[in-house]
């Protein structure tokens, strides 16, 4: 007798939630690592030094212009070739981070442009070093401006993290595939996974809206 949908989901939910935890972990680490690095790249792109800005732009263009799946495969298969053996999960985090840096830099650049350049000039005039001025004057303002876009990027990375199942990281997608392989019930399992993804993203966008309101009060 085939298992009912309810029992099927009930039996497999714990494993799927464990997978969802992995999904959140991998994309969370990528997003958080991507923030400082994205900021550095953002200042690189808007640098007055021609070479710094040119190299930063090439990096951005390459990572924004190729499919994330291809990037993931390149990192996973290329690193061992040059003698660096990394476990799949680390390769996944590296790929997602390198990808999100390019997108976050673009988001931060938008925020940076909204800040009057006079502030930086004034800070430099009173003798604050450039990186200190960026850190203490620009960064807090940029963050407040770009929260909505940053939440979008987080959701986008969370969705893209389903691709790391291809290199055998046991996150939600991979776990679902494994369950399907043993139960032969693709429809219910994949719908269940879809629901979990949507719930996580809903929570994220709600959290984003709350953060936006909180920070708006601070102004």
């Amino acid at each position: 007798m085939p298992v009912t949908t309810f029992t099927l989901i009930q039996n497999n939910l714990p494993v799927m939630l464990w997978g969802a935890g992995m999904t959140v972990l991998v994309s969370g680490i990528a997003i958080i690592l991507g923030m400082p690095l994205g900021l550095v790249l953002c200042f690189g792109v808007s640098s007055s030094n021609r070479w710094v800005s040119r190299i930063s732009r090439v990096y951005q263009s390459v990572w924004r212009g190729t499919p994330i799946l291809v990037q993931l495969l390149i990192i996973y298969y290329l690193l061992p070739l040059i003698g660096i053996n990394v476990p799949p999960i680390l390769a996944a985090i590296i790929a997602l981070t390198l990808n999100t840096i390019a997108f976050q830099a673009e988001i931060f650049r938008g925020g940076l442009q909204a800040i009057p350049p006079g502030q930086m000039e004034a800070a430099r005039m009173v003798g604050i070093r450039i990186w200190a001025a960026r850190r203490t004057i620009l960064v807090p303002q940029i963050f407040r401006l770009v929260i909505p876009s940053l939440v979008n990027e987080t959701i986008s990375i969370l969705k893209n993290s389903s691709l790391v199942s291809v290199i055998a990281v046991t996150e939600l997608m991979r776990v679902s595939q494994q369950i399907v392989a043993t139960t032969y019930r693709p429809f219910e399992i994949y719908i269940a996974a879809a629901v979990i993804y949507i719930v996580i993203n809903l929570v994220l966008s709600l959290a984003g809206r709350t953060a936006e309101r909180r920070l708006a009060h601070g102004t």
Binding site: K159, S162, S165, M173, Y190, I191
Partner: protein
């Protein structure tokens, strides 16, 4: 060095065939996505609450889902509810209906940018709803929505790499075949990256052309 380049010559037909499939699928999906997106955005303008709720739910669900899971539900889950589609068809429909949610949002923001007064004036002059959309809303919003539309098409092209996982013989799939047959890694992926980049760049340039055209 010669051997290094030989692989490219040898596998050029396979890679180019993949590029053509990718371009073809993306073109169909874009047309489908824009058509469905436009219909959704127009229906959203009708003041009938349940319909608007359904459209919002559709958009939110599609935007909250990884495209991979949508493709898996359609391709692997479909047969168990009597829906048997080829991988390529799933690709076009999956990408198309996924993109439709994003296109609908772009159209919606475009519609909202048209001042209410113009619509009221048009209605007073006796234009029907579809005439208003065709002659008043669309021409004006094209200027505004062309850049995000091009952006979205580029995103669709990059998302289409995922179709390789459900065995569509597009660029990424053929790249992995190239890897598996030759044990080379650098040549296949560099070729794939360059070909994707060329396709994306072509679309971006085309977008700039359209942008100049629609500007008044």
């Amino acid at each position: 060095m010669a051997q290094f380049l030989d692989l490219w010559v040898q596998y050029a037909p396979l890679m180019l065939a993949g590029l053509v499939t990718t371009a073809w699928i993306c073109a169909l999906a874009t047309v489908l996505g824009i058509a469905v997106g436009l219909v959704l955005a127009c229906l959203d303008g009708i003041a009938f609450e349940p319909l608007r709720w359904a459209i919002r739910a559709y958009v939110e669900i599609m935007r909250g889902l990884p495209i991979l899971i949508l493709l898996f539900v359609l391709y692997y889950g479909g047969p168990s509810v009597g829906l048997r589609l080829s991988a390529g068809t799933v690709g076009v429909f999956g990408l198309g209906f996924y993109g439709a949610a994003y296109f609908a949002e772009i159209f919606r923001s475009g519609f909202q940018s048209i001042p209410k007064g113009q619509i009221e004036a048009a209605r007073m002059a006796g234009l029907t709803g579809s005439q208003i959309i065709r002659h008043i809303k669309l021409p004006q919003m094209l200027v505004l929505i062309t850049p995000p539309m091009v952006n979205q098409i580029i995103i669709l092209i990059k998302e289409s790499a995922v179709l390789s996982i459900i065995t569509v013989a597009e660029l990424t799939k053929n790249t992995t075949q190239f890897v598996n047959e030759t044990y080379a890694v650098i040549q296949p992926y560099v070729a794939a990256a360059v070909l994707y980049w060329l396709l994306v760049e072509a679309v971006a340039q085309l977008g700039k052309l359209v942008e100049r055209r629609v500007r008044f």
